[in-house]
Structures are given as structure tokens and as C-alpha cells.
């Protein structure tokens, strides 16, 4: 029973696939079958990781990037979710603003980087500003759709219980609209990592993005691979943390998160 549950919780074949790929990579490097000067073996990348791990600069850039990612994410959610609610409640507002939102939303995110660097300068504020400007729109639209998709019968429920105004939002709309909003927020976290990272690569000389680029420019391939894999791992860890928190705070969400991850 418990082994069955374990095999369901830990995806063993999936981990085996990753292990086989790493072993093959190591074997190809050891035999010298194909040789790329800048593709070190997994063991070399591992030892570079171990030697980077105790350095303060490694944790400095990691915390810098994580801080920017989370701050931008929180700011975007705090702005976008109330605005989404407002848009859903006021059809007039939708008519007079929705296509502006669509225009801004379809702006390719990276094009904002040079503009923000120009006006704000090379700083963590630039990273956060770009990420917020990208994250707000999809989150706002998802919130608006989630609230509008709340079943109209809940209006009748509100009427029969004489729940009005802010009470209606807190007691009925929010709980009913929550699941898609959580899924959208989770997607926003992924986008936040991507945008902050790009801004660091192109502009702000700090953080993991800059560390990766400078490892490339100074020809330290093992370190470069460490940063690449480290960012991927951080992304997976943040997602897992968010899922865990969401499941803990809102137990009813588990099935939604499962489908949302696909």
C-alpha cells in the first residue's frame, strides 16, 4: 500500500529517464565519441557547482534574482487581481478599456527592456518594472474571466441571503473565482522568472542572468552550465512551493492545479 503510494508520488520512470540521459552524457564524454569544447561532462558541472556553492557571490546573485522575481510577482498580483475584479463587475469599463489591454498584452515583452533601461537605468527597479508591466495583463484578464464565469445562480444565492457589496465579493465571488486565478498566478510566476532573467542578461549587470552571460563571455563553460541548470531548478522549486502553499491554504484546489500544470 505504502509502496504504491510512494510510486505514485515519486515518478520513478521519469527520474530514470533523466538519470539515463546524464549517464549517457557522461559516457559519451568519457569515451570521447563526440567532443564539444564547451559541453563539460555532468561530473565536471557537478564539481563546478560544489565549488560555487560556498561562495557568497553565488548566493548574492541568486537572492538578487529571487527577490526581483518575487517582488515583481507580488506587485503584479496586487494590482492585477483587484483590477480584474473591477473589470468583471463594470461592463462599461470593459467596453472602454479592453482593447487597450489587448494591445498592451500583445507587446513582445523584451521590447520593453530597452525602453525601461533607458528611463529607469540599470537597476533592480528596471527588472521589477519590466516584469510587472508584462505580468499584469494576463493575470488581470484571467481574473476578469474567472469572475465573469462565476455561475449566475450565485447572484440568486446572494439575493436570497441579502448579501451585498463588499460582503458579496468576499463571501461569494472570491471563493467561487479563486481556482482559475491561482492557476493564472502560478503561470505569472514562471513568466516573472523568464522576464527578470532576460532583463539581467541584456541590461542590469547583476543577478543570475548576468552571471550566466559573464560566465559565457569569460569562457567558463562549467560555471555557465551550472547557472543554466540552477535557474531551471529554481523555477521547478518555486512552482512546487507555490503548489504546496496553494494546496495547504485552499485544499479544494488540488484537482484544479493538477489540470493546470498541463
Amino acid at each position: 500500500m505504502s509502496t504504491e503510494r510512494l510510486s505514485r508520488a515519486v515518478n520513478l520512470p521519469g527520474l530514470a529517464v533523466i538519470a539515463v540521459i546524464l549517464l549517457l552524457w557522461q559516457a559519451v564524454d568519457a569515451v570521447g565519441l563526440i567532443h564539444f569544447a564547451y559541453v563539460p561532462s555532468p561530473l565536471k558541472i557537478g564539481s563546478a557547482f560544489v565549488s560555487l556553492l560556498p561562495t557568497p557571490s553565488f548566493w548574492g546573485v541568486t537572492l538578487h534574482t529571487l527577490g526581483a522575481v518575487l517582488l515583481a510577482w507580488v506587485i503584479a498580483l496586487l494590482v492585477a487581481i483587484p483590477l480584474g475584479f473591477l473589470l468583471a463587475q463594470l461592463p462599461v469599463l470593459r467596453t472602454w478599456s479592453m482593447s487597450s489591454v489587448n494591445v498592451l498584452r500583445s507587446m513582445p515583452a523584451v521590447a520593453l527592456v530597452p525602453v525601461v533601461l533607458l528611463t529607469v537605468g540599470f537597476s533592480i527597479q528596471a527588472e521589477i518594472l519590466v516584469a510587472v508591466a508584462v505580468l499584469i495583463w494576463p493575470t488581470m484578464i484571467a481574473t476578469c474571466l474567472a469572475v465573469r464565469n462565476v455561475h449566475p445562480r450565485l447572484d440568486d444565492v446572494a439575493n436570497s441571503f441579502r448579501i451585498k457589496g463588499s460582503q458579496k465579493v468576499v463571501k461569494l465571488l472570491l471563493p467561487a473565482a479563486w481556482p482559475p486565478i491561482v492557476v493564472a498566478s502560478r503561470l505569472a510566476l514562471t513568466i516573472s522568472i523568464i522576464v527578470v532573467f532576460v532583463t539581467e542578461m541584456i541590461g542590469n549587470p547583476d543577478g543570475l542572468g548576468n552571471a550566466l552571460v559573464s560566465a559565457q563571455l569569460t569562457l567558463r563553460p562549467a560555471e555557465m552550465w551550472v547557472y543554466l541548470l540552477w535557474v531551471g531548478a529554481l523555477g521547478v522549486a518555486l512552482q512546487a512551493l507555490l503548489d504546496f502553499a496553494a494546496r495547504w491554504v485552499l485544499p479544494g484546489l488540488a484537482p484544479v492545479l493538477k489540470t493546470g500544470s498541463r
Binding site: N11, P13, G14, L15, A16, V17, I18, F36, Y38, V39, R94, T95, W96, S97, M98, S99, S100, V101, N102, V103, L104, S106, M107, P108, A109, V110, A111, L112, V113, P114, V115, L117, L118, T119, T190, I193, I194, F197, V198, M201, I202, G209, L212, V213, A215, Q216, L219, P221, M224, W225, Y227, L228, L229, V231, G232, A233, G235, V236, Q239, R262
Partner: protein, 268 residues
């Protein structure tokens, strides 16, 4: 195809179209308002936020530079080629993975990890390993845009009703006909949804790749203008890239409605 479900009739007629255009224009009010206010409060000589009328000068400077047509062509052709490769590769791999539950389960951690690497992070690594080639740029764009196509194909494949496959067998279709007449049409909506999500990602990564490798293209032009502190040029390029993004958005949704007209409605 059996007319299962049936799509709601298209809202046709010139009247419906003109009201939707009116709605679109009405919705632009806040954006236009900000630009008008900016025009009146801003100044031409501002080094950081030149007012919109000054952007025209920046546009002229870019046009006179003579690199715009080549850059536009380079960006668009790279983007379209990479998207086509991602579409074919993602749909094929997705169909393969989706045809077996075991393959789906054992590949999902690897895919989840690869997806969580910011696409831009792959560019310096690929530059070092493969050098500054068009193939390298295409590869990184495909790496970014393939996942939504692949994952949506996987779930479309897993969602093909068993009855449909059994029916094709009962009808005595050859394996090839079964594939082209039953499986592929069933996958099309999923692949298209993946394409809808993947196309903007591909455009973004195309621009990032140009910025990071300094290869000719719109991404490189806008970054160069920023490095030379030519604010009007930066804003002119921003408008151009924004229009491209908007056209892409319209194009992709037009393709979706056109192609999916004959398919049963998406369940979600």
C-alpha cells in the same frame, strides 16, 4: 467527420462586424488618452521620455540608417521558420508521447525541467557550443516555442476517444488512412492551441536572440538605439515591434477561427 456538437453559427453580417470595430476603437480610449496627455505634457528634448511627436524623428533616423528592411526581413523569416519547425517537431513528438501513457509519465519530469529553464538562458550556452550561426538561433527559438505545442498535442492525443479509433478499425481503414483521417484531425485543435501560445513566445525569443548575439534584426536595432541613448528611436522601434505583436495576435486568432470552424467546439 461527424458533425458532433456543432459550432454555434458565426455572428455574421456587416452590422455585427461594424459594432465590433466600434467596440475596439472605444476600448482604445485609455491608451490614446495617455499618449495625448504625454504629447501635451512632454517635451521634444527630454532625454528619457520624449513626447510622441518626437518619435517620428526617431523613425526617420532609423529609416535613413537603411538597416530597417533587412532587419525586418531577417526577424520575420527567422521567426516563421523556427515556428514552422517547432510546429512539426512538437506535433510529431507530442503524438508519439501521447500515444502511450507510460511514455507520457516517464517524459514529464524531463519536460517540466526543460520548460522551467528561461529560454533566453539557453542562448549564451548555445552560442558557446554551436557558434553564432542561424542554426543556433533557430534551435533556441524552437527550444522555447515547442513546449506548448508538444504538451497540447500530448493531451489531445490522450483525449482521442477510444470509440473513434475502434470505429476506424471496424471500418477496415488501413493504418495510414486511420492516421491521416482519424488521428490527425482529432489532434488539430490541440496543436492549434499550442501554436497560439507558442507563436508570441517564438517572436520574443527571436528578438532576445538578436539582442544577445548582435545579429541583424529588429531586436538588435532597438537595443543599439538604447545603448546610443537615442530615446526617440527606441520609442519608434517599440511602436513598430508592438504593431508586429498585435498583427501576430490578430493573425493567429483569425487562423484559429478559420481552421476550427468545422471542428466540434473545444470543451473548455
Amino acid at each position: 467527420m461527424a458533425p458532433a456538437g456543432g459550432r454555434t453559427p458565426q455572428r455574421g453580417g456587416a452590422g455585427a462586424r461594424s459594432t465590433s470595430i466600434l467596440r475596439f476603437i472605444a476600448g482604445l480610449t485609455p491608451l490614446v488618452g495617455v499618449i495625448v496627455i504625454w504629447q501635451f505634457l512632454g517635451s521634444d528634448v527630454s532625454a528619457l521620455l520624449p513626447r510622441p511627436s518626437a518619435w517620428w524623428g526617431g523613425w526617420n533616423a532609423i529609416v535613413e540608417g537603411g538597416q530597417l528592411p533587412g532587419s525586418l526581413l531577417s526577424t520575420l523569416s527567422t521567426f516563421l521558420l523556427a515556428l514552422a519547425i517547432a510546429l512539426v517537431l512538437g506535433a510529431c513528438l507530442g503524438a508519439l508521447i501521447g500515444s502511450s501513457r507510460r511514455a507520457d509519465r516517464s517524459s514529464s519530469p524531463l519536460i517540466a525541467f526543460l520548460m522551467s529553464i528561461p529560454p533566453a538562458a539557453v542562448i549564451p550556452v548555445a552560442t558557446l557550443v554551436f557558434g553564432l550561426s542561424i542554426g543556433m538561433r533557430l534551435g533556441t527559438i524552437v527550444f522555447a516555442a515547442i513546449w506548448p505545442i508538444l504538451l497540447n498535442t500530448v493531451s489531445a492525443m490522450r483525449g482521442v476517444p477510444a470509440v473513434r479509433l475502434e470505429a476506424s478499425r471496424t471500418l477496415g481503414l488501413s493504418p495510414l488512412a486511420r492516421y491521416t483521417r482519424v488521428v490527425l484531425p482529432s489532434l488539430a485543435p490541440g496543436v492549434l492551441v499550442g501554436l497560439l501560445i507558442g507563436a508570441p513566445i517564438a517572436l520574443i525569443v527571436t528578438l532576445v536572440a538578436e539582442m544577445l548575439t548582435a545579429t541583424p534584426g529588429l531586436g538588435y536595432l532597438i537595443l543599439r538605439s538604447q545603448r546610443e541613448y537615442q530615446a526617440p528611436e527606441v520609442f519608434a522601434m517599440l511602436v513598430l515591434i508592438g504593431i508586429l505583436g498585435l498583427l501576430l495576435n490578430f493573425g493567429v486568432s483569425a487562423i484559429e477561427t478559420r481552421l476550427l470552424r468545422n471542428w466540434p467546439r473545444r470543451s473548455n
